[in-house]
Amino acid sequence: MNALLEKHTKDIEDILKKYPEDQKRSAVMPLLYVAMRENGFVSKQDMYDIAEIIKVSATQVASIVGFYTLYHDKEGGKHRVQVCNDLPCALRGSGEYLEKLCENIGIKVGETTEDGLVSVESVMCLAGCDKAPMFQEQNPDGVFYHEDQTVESTLELIEQWRKQEAK
């Protein structure tokens, strides 16, 4: 029935153990990480499965996925470039930066490069307003902040990733 639970029974049980009987719903965030392990994003079915495990509505799970930039509901590149585009960042030129960056890579916001290496997203506040334009990079190793960016510096970075990938 519940594919997610079947696949990661042990891990999910361990996570659930940490929460008191009437607060199992709080396990939603670690469970979402479990779901993301495989493909790097939470599929719709995963959301239903998690909702079933912790007895909340699937809509509530989806709301959490949508709220946090660390969860994804779509497949993306190996390196997710998440550019903050909120007002303070925009005042420091992040809008233009994002536009030019995309132009240079040849994709639109929300898309992934053909080789599956980079996807560019526009996100809400990352608390780095003073060092904008900035972006948060998510790759399988973790989350990294890259601040005071220019289009050139970012393109250099992407070139480095590409080289690493080639090795």
Binding site: M47, Y48, T59, S63, G66, F67, M124
Partner: protein, 837 residues
């Protein structure tokens, strides 16, 4: 008006809003205090029925407090008045509560500018759809923009967001993403009020959007209410999509006849070209009645009007000539009916359904009594006589129940049987009332119940009797959890006020009768009778069954035999022939007269068919399960040849030398009040009385409470139970045991979205109807090799049917839930055989 709030908190504070000195209970929010004083503070996200969130910032006001001396704590005076210090920034009136000496200002340039800017921001991504928007004309955003906006925008029109414009959020509600102003009223309603968070917000900032992930989308019985409280046209109902502009419609007050809550509604009507220029109902809206439905409606009640179709109506009296029914005149039909009724005399039977008005019941009963026949009710629930004895005390309002009170729900899936009762009990639980549930399966009411007594089907009466302390002959030991029963019994008997809701979950007529007796016994043992918010409520499955009981109709255990032996059956507003056994007996009845609005199965085998009117076409009164008598008014004209039921009966009576009132329903009611003691003090004028209600909803300030209608046509009157004036004793008894002969026991349960005629003939509700199904225990299903969702073959009462299997873990082994009106006729618990296919 303030009394409404004053009752709850005693401490009052004095404050000034817009130079008006007012008194309000401590803790009242500024917006509510202003509303009480008749001052408008514009809001979008605030709703008086929900917790404030301060999301939209529209209710900005300048709030000042009296200055105090730092050393002495004394109020600093200036020119004989306290010196007021205003805050640096504006505050939201919906999140700040009033305090002594507070000064609230909403008219200064600073406040005006603040609100203007908020509106400018809100409109920066709101489309200019007003001419085609269903909300246009009754839209808070439109009205407040005119009232408080600056008249121009500094944002570029070209930069408006373009988003999906018609997203079906389920079958009943459409979402326009562009129009949403993210006030969260809808999501909060689903979460806070009805505890079904099936819609929610996704993403952040400007990308925030409403999503639903339930299967089917927006899977809730309450979805229509979100469209009422939506301050823009983002959520609109499927039935009214582009149906008419709000200002073009007339409003007529009515009462919903889908269940025994009797919610107050308003029908909006307009002439329609495709109906040949006839006045038709365009939509149904809630009408405020804080003692019944507040400002809410369930979706079935809201969309049920769509099931009334002009084409399938009976429009002419029909008379049997050989095999066929042929049209005839009223004179001929009535003469024949009267002649046959006279011949039958004592051997006549009147059989009525549960949706007629009190006036109809009264006249039919008078006619039957005149002939000496039997007044029978086609119903599978009993106990109306007990409700009239120990029903809710005069002046009851579930909204007054809370801390220290207890509510017992027995044998009822309350949300399915009477959605608004469920909502009101849930709110009472949130105010601190102890909810005790004695059900044989899990229901949505379990979530807020403190005591959940899981019984087996057939133990309903036993559990209530044992709660009342009766021991003899009651097999207490087979009760699921004796300690829990004792604890619940203690809470119930010690509660200040206690109400019992008994339903029909798993019960047939005899089971229902025993249960109602046990409930009356428990109430009288614990002295929870004859006072407000104490007493018995039967969760009837039809709108006016209580009225039928009050007018003298009784269900019969031997209905089939009664019909078979009768020489003349007068069948009004029900369809007995839809059940095989009754169809057989009706064929043996010498003469069958059917009085209905549609050509029902019974009408097809009748000798005379008389065309009656639908409740939307005429006047009348209903008595709710809480014994509140309420008036409904005509909304649309009736087909030319039809007549209201009371009139048809009176015309028959006249031919039998019995004079019954037929001119108007109000006059029938006068007769009724004279003859039926409980109704003695009522008349149509009293029923139309209205007192002030809080919150103030439905006037020209649609932004405050949504588009629910103000009640100007009557709140109805609750009638007193007999126990208030006389002493009635109830005895304990030995309940009968539900024996299980075969492997599987089928028990009838109620589901709101059934396959009854209302649901099937409504195009709007149709997509929500499930295929015929039964619910099995998971273990049983495994044994049978049945998986969830597969087709199985069931045999019940000699009838075989193919249905979908649904599974439920919480169900006891060997039990099969068979929903009523869901394709398999069931009236009593009984054996069922199941075969996997």
């Amino acid at each position: 008006m303030t009394e409404v709030l004053e009752e709850k908190t005693t401490k009052l504070v004095n404050l000034t809003i817009d130079n008006l000195e007012i008194t309000a209970p401590e803790g009242t929010l500024i917006v509510d205090a202003a509303k009480l004083a008749g001052i408008d503070i514009p809001v979008f996200c605030y709703h008086p029925k929900m917790e404030p969130v301060g999301m939209c910032r529209m209710c900005l006001v300048d709030v000042g407090m009296p200055m105090r001396d730092r050393d002495t704590g004394e109020t600093i005076m200036e020119k004989g008045k306290p010196k007021i210090q205003f805050g640096r920034e504006l505050q939201t009136g919906c999140t700040v509560s009033v305090s002594e000496g507070m000064v609230v200002v909403g008219y200064t340039e600073k406040v005006k500018k603040g609100r203007q800017d908020i509106l400018e921001f809100l409109l920066s991504s709101h489309p200019l759809d007003c001419p085609i928007c269903d909300k246009g004309g009754e839209c808070p955003l439109q009205n407040l923009t005119i009232g408080y906006g600056s008249g121009e925008s500094r944002f570029d029109l070209e930069e408006k967001q373009h988003l999906a414009k018609h997203v079906p959020l389920g079958d009943l509600i459409w979402l326009d993403r562009e129009r949403c102003i993210q006030c969260a009223r809808c999501t909060r309603f689903q979460d806070e009020i009805v505890d079904q968070p099936v819609i929610g917000f996704q993403n952040r900032g400007r990308k925030l959007q409403i999503v639903t992930f339930s299967e089917p989308g927006f899977d809730s019985y309450w979805s229509g209410n979100t469209s009422d409280i939506c301050p823009v046209g983002a959520l609109t109902t499927a039935d009214f999509r582009f149906g008419a502009r709000p200002w073009e419609m007339q409003a007529s007050a009515s009462v919903c006849n889908q269940c025994s809550v009797n919610c107050n509604i308003t029908f909006n009507t307009r002439r329609e070209a495709k109906s040949g220029g006839d006045l038709v109902i365009k939509r149904a809206m809630p009408r405020q009645n804080e003692e019944v439905n507040e400002v809410w409606l369930c979706d079935k009640g809201r969309f049920a009007y769509t099931s009334v179709k002009k084409d399938d109506r009976l429009t002419q009296p029909l008379i049997r000539e050989g095999e066929t029914l042929v049209e005839t005149t009223w004179e001929k039909a009535l003469d024949l009916v009267a002649e046959k009724a006279k011949e039958a005399g004592k051997e006549m039977v009147s059989l009525v359904g549960g949706r007629l008005s009190n006036e109809d019941y009264f006249n039919i009963n008078q006619l039957t009594a005149h002939l000496g026949g039997k007044s029978l009710l086609n119903s599978e629930m009993a106990g109306g006589d007990l409700v009239s004895q120990v029903g809710l005390g005069t002046g009851s309002n579930i909204a007054d129940m809370g801390q220290g009170d207890a509510i017992l729900i027995v044998a009822s899936d309350l949300e399915e049987e009477a959605p608004l009762f469920w909502l009101r009990v849930k709110q009472a639980a949130e105010r601190g009332a102890e909810v005790i549930i004695a059900n044989a399966r899990e229901t949505r009411a379990d979530r807020f119940a403190k005591y959940k007594i899981r019984i087996a089907f057939g133990q309903e009466t036993a559990v209530i009797l044992s709660m009342a302390g009766a021991k003899e002959g009651i097999a207490v030991e087979f009760l699921a959890d004796d300690a829990k029963v004792k604890a619940a019994a203690k809470v119930f008997s010690e509660a200040n006020n206690a109400v019992i809701y008994y339903g029909s979950d798993g019960l047939g007529l005899s089971g229902s009768e025993e249960l109602s007796k046990a409930c009356a016994f428990l109430l009288s043992e614990t002295k929870h009778t004859g006072r407000p918010n104490n007493g018995l409520v039967a969760v009837w499955n039809k709108a006016n069954l209580q009225g039928a009981w009050d007018m003298g109709f009784r269900p019969s255990e031997t209905l089939a035999a009664d019909l078979k032996n009768a020489k003349f059956a007068y069948v009004v507003g029900n369809d007995p022939a839809s059940k095989d056994i009754l169809e057989k007996s009706l064929k043996d009845t010498d003469f069958v007269v059917v009085q209905d609005v549609r050509l029902s199965e019974t009408a097809e085998i009748a000798d005379v068919v008389l065309p009656a009117q639908v409740y939307t076409e005429r006047e009348g009164t209903y008595t709710s399960a809480e014994r509140r008598v309420q008036r409904f008014y005509p909304a649309v004209p009736a087909p030319e040849m039809t007549k209201p039921d009371y009139k048809i009966t009176a015309k028959i009576a006249k031919r039998l030398d019995l004079s019954l009132e037929k001119i108007a329903a109000s006059l029938v009611f006068l007769d009724l009040a004279e003859k039926v003691a409980d109704y003695a003090e009522l008349d149509y004028v009293r029923l139309a009385e209205v007192t002030e209600q809080w919150p103030i909803i439905g006037r020209d300030d649609l932004f405050y409470g949504g588009t629910s209608y103000q009640n100007t046509q009557g709140l109805g009157k609750q009638i007193s139970p007999a126990i208030e004036t006389e002493t009635i004793k109830y005895e304990a008894f030995v309940p009968s045991v539900l024996s299980k002969k075969d492997e599987f026991l089928a028990v009838p349960v109620t589901t709101l979205y059934d396959r009854g005629s209302t649901m099937l003939s409504s195009e709007v509700l149709q997509p929500r109807i499930a295929d015929p199904y039964v619910i099995l225990n998971t273990a049983d299903a495994e044994k049978l090799g049945v998986e969830a969702g597969v087709q199985i073959s069931v045999k019940l009462n000699g009838k075989t049917a193919n249905v979908t299997a649904k599974l439920d873990d919480s169900l006891a082994k060997g039990i099969v839930l068979v929903p009523r009106s869901m394709g398999i006729p069931i009236s009593d618990p009984g054996s069922i055989t199941i075969k996997a296919k």
